[in-house]
Symmetry: C2
């Protein structure tokens, strides 16, 4: 069933029309009368609507999105090269992330300037929306950029389970962190191509993040956040 994100859901029983991009998309689908679509508000509420013909739809009862994980997982990643960031945004959305936050670290090679960032954030948000539609998410993850590593640490630390993955950490595992207790919000932080500097790790520990390993194999910077998110969703019964 096709899926459309709208600002607000119509009242149950109301007749309505789609507008803008949604109207174009619906036209391309060549719906037949009585075919159904899903309208979603992007904040985990949705309703099934019936096509009446012409441009008209009949709104159904709204309910919580079945495609939303019960756990809230934020992906914090140091700016990688552009194509990798777009890749992570798309995949992390499919895998159920609540938000995707990019930030600079000392070894970042790629670091968008203030001027280009606004356009980029719009582009990234569209990638998240499109992936949310395709994967039947009820929520469009927010894609954000923070100006500093310190700001990222401060935010990430607010989750009940804040983790930073570091390739030189050998003993503390993601599993140990997950099994240590119940949590509803998680931050998963990973580095860029060049990894983290040692003092950045000390800074993260001081901010309250747990430093964990992702196993004996060295994962690329675009693979690590998605492997961690997959593992977390598995542990939370969502995969």
């Amino acid at each position: 069933m096709a899926r459309f994100f709208v600002e607000t859901l119509p009242e149950a029983g109301a007749t309505f029309r789609l507008d803008g991009e949604n109207a174009k998309h619906a036209k391309v689908l060549r719906l037949r009368p009585d075919e159904e679509i899903t309208l979603c508000d992007g904040a985990a509420r949705e309703c099934v609507c019936r096509f009446l013909g012409g441009e008209d739809f009949l709104a159904g009862e709204a309910a919580g999105s079945p495609g939303e994980p019960a756990i809230s997982a934020a992906v914090y990643l140091a700016f990688p090269k552009a194509d990798k960031l777009e890749h992570v945004i798309q995949k992390a959305t499919e895998l159920g992330a609540t938000e995707i936050v990019a930030f600079p670290t000392r070894f970042c090679v790629s670091r968008p300037d203030e001027k280009s960032l606004k356009n980029k954030l719009e582009r990234w948000q569209k990638i998240a929306q499109s992936a949310a539609e395709q994967s039947r998410r009820g929520r469009i993850p927010a894609v954000r950029a923070l100006p500093s590593y310190a700001a990222a640490l401060k935010e990430a630390a607010q989750a009940e389970l804040p983790i930073l993955f570091y390739e030189n950490e050998k003993s503390r595992t993601l599993r140990a962190a997950i099994e240590a207790g119940p949590f509803r919000t998680v931050s998963l932080m990973t580095g860029a191509e060049g990894g983290f500097a040692e003092d950045e790790i000390a800074q993260a520990e001081a901010a309250g993040l747990q430093i964990c390993t992702l196993g004996a194999r060295i994962l690329r910077c675009e693979t690590a956040p998605l492997a961690a998110l997959s593992a977390l969703m598995y542990a939370a019964g969502e995969l």
Copy 2:
């Protein structure tokens, strides 16, 4: 430490030189005397070797590769479009797959012909080797192509835990399959862009595969095998 795959490991204490691509790669690294490299036979044995200067190295004692997972996980995926297959080969290698096997299904859009397949397999194997070097694997996963879905099912079913992921399966989870018992070998089978036909699922069940869901979100064909592999490696204590 730089990592080189060779046909056979030198005897401990022997002086040796690298050849071919490895020699070129070593030259680029501009090693200094007493710097160390790792030689690996691609079959999970490796030794640390010391650079003596010129082109000479001194071989150390061989041992098992610490980067190899204890579990053997084969990724079986229906031919997706070419760039997606290359993506899965690279990422599945990083994540610890033992082999990556592609095969046709009814709804496959992409299906390389016999003639181009030989060149493609060589290219795919190189992607696996390069990813194995970067991620510090001790084994280069074999990349293979099978001529039919039936052949893929027959092979995949030989694992102690053979699973096929199907988007219309709603109840049986990967976790239930994993927790049902001990296993050392796993097959993870996923479909192409168009998914599986219903009778293909019946055929897989008859062949002995377990049909599982990957959760409420619909994953793209290049995301599903990597999410499943990440989850499996997490469950096996490898992530």
